[in-house]
């Protein structure tokens, strides 16, 4: 079972469908942060979006598994307490939108850091809940301003982002408080990069796994470019799509361009050896 559902599910089907995890009482008033003593002291401030740094990469390169494991564990414990995400399908996202308010479309901090994307081209991030009432206090976090959306508008925005190929990831801000839905891709999302490049699970896989029905697959290959996680490939021997269930993050984006509807999302829990692959 998903650790977060176990700890914070509150009897609901999934932890992010439990309204208590969006509640005002969990919202922590944000404090002023101390000036970084030189940018290097704080890689987050310095724009890395990386939860591990050069030391980790060097340990990895020299095959020092002990150090890598320790640093990875420490980084995960840190990030899981404060700010991490889980991939959600469009269907689950629609259910979330019906529970939360207000919803604000804002600029993406990762793409600012990775590409220096101008604010007007960078509205791909969604904030939600009580914190949104106070966004004006933190102009730097909300560079470019805030567009408040009705639930219907939000569903439309997510639809557009989904068609663009961006993966929906729900994020905690002081776990289990859920207050953001990022729309991520590789290589420009810091969280996805931490997960894929470093094996530090800042993003958890979702509750589903995509499966291809080979009889239905017509081999068009349109699904392949939708996968941001390297789980979906095109098999030249069978001329069909191939999905690695152990790598699949369960976002469901591969389904959308599939004309014959050959990709189905199955419950992760229904596959015993994949059930705990997060």
């Amino acid at each position: 079972m998903c650790d977060w559902c176990e700890q914070y599910g509150g009897g609901y089907e999934r932890w992010y469908l439990n309204p208590a995890n969006y509640a005002r009482r969990l919202y922590k008033v944000r404090r002023e942060e101390a000036e970084a003593s030189g940018a290097e002291a704080n890689p987050q401030v310095a724009g890395g979006m990386g939860v591990v740094g050069r030391e980790f990469m060097e340990a990895q390169a020299r095959g020092d598994h002990e150090t890598v494991d320790r640093m990875r564990r420490e980084a995960e414990q840190r990030t899981w307490q404060v700010h991490f995400g889980q991939v959600v399908t469009k269907e689950d996202l629609d259910r979330i939108i019906d529970m939360i308010y207000p919803i604000g479309l804002m600029t993406c901090a990762c793409r600012r850091s990775m590409r220096g994307l101008p604010d007007e081209d960078n509205f791909t991030c969604v904030g939600m809940g009580p914190g949104m009432y106070k966004w004006e206090r933190w102009p730097d976090t909300y560079r470019g301003g805030m567009n408040f959306l009705t639930p219907e508008e939000a569903k439309h925005v997510f639809d557009v982002l989904n068609r663009r190929g961006l993966v929906h990831v729900i994020f905690t801000f002081g776990t289990p408080y859920l207050a953001g839905i990022c729309n991520c891709d590789y290589p420009d999302c810091g969280a996805v990069r931490n997960a894929l490049d470093m094996g530090v699970r800042v993003v958890w896989k979702g509750h589903h796994v995509a499966e291809v029905d080979s009889d239905l697959c017509n081999g068009c290959g349109l699904c392949v470019r939708r996968c941001q996680f390297g789980a979906l490939s095109f098999s030249p021997s069978t001329l069909k799509a191939y999905i690695d269930p152990f790598k699949c993050y369960g976002c469901g984006l591969c389904r959308n361009p599939c004309k014959p509807d050959a990709i189905e999302m199955v419950e992760r829990a229904s596959l015993p050896t994949v059930a705990n692959v997060w």
């Binding site: 000036e35 987050q44 890395g48 990386g50 060097e58 220096g116 730097d140």
Partner: protein, 85 residues
């Protein structure tokens, strides 16, 4: 083992507006950040934005970031362990 990427902040212009190096890097090694944390009721001045090497393991030392920088603020070096190409 990994390249060393040095950015001279005093030479670098307004990185938030320029971003040439970020766009030139084929593997997204560089990151844009700020030299200060977020402040209440205060937007960070564009001059406080800085560029740093972040994802060193993907740097191929291709030199594109150095070439594209109008101020010569970036320097990438790689210790080949005494072996010259």
């Amino acid at each position: 083992m990994f390249p060393v990427i040095k950015v001279d902040d005093s030479k670098c212009g307004v990185a938030l507006d320029c971003r040439l190096c970020l766009l030139a890097c084929p593997t997204r090694v560089l990151g844009l950040g700020t030299s200060v944390g977020p402040k209440k009721y205060q937007e960070t001045d564009p001059s406080r934005f800085i560029v740093r090497g972040v994802r060193y393991q993907f740097c191929t030392v291709c030199g594109k970031c150095e070439e594209v920088c109008p101020h010569g603020a970036i320097e990438v070096s790689f210790d080949r362990g005494g072996v010259t190409a």
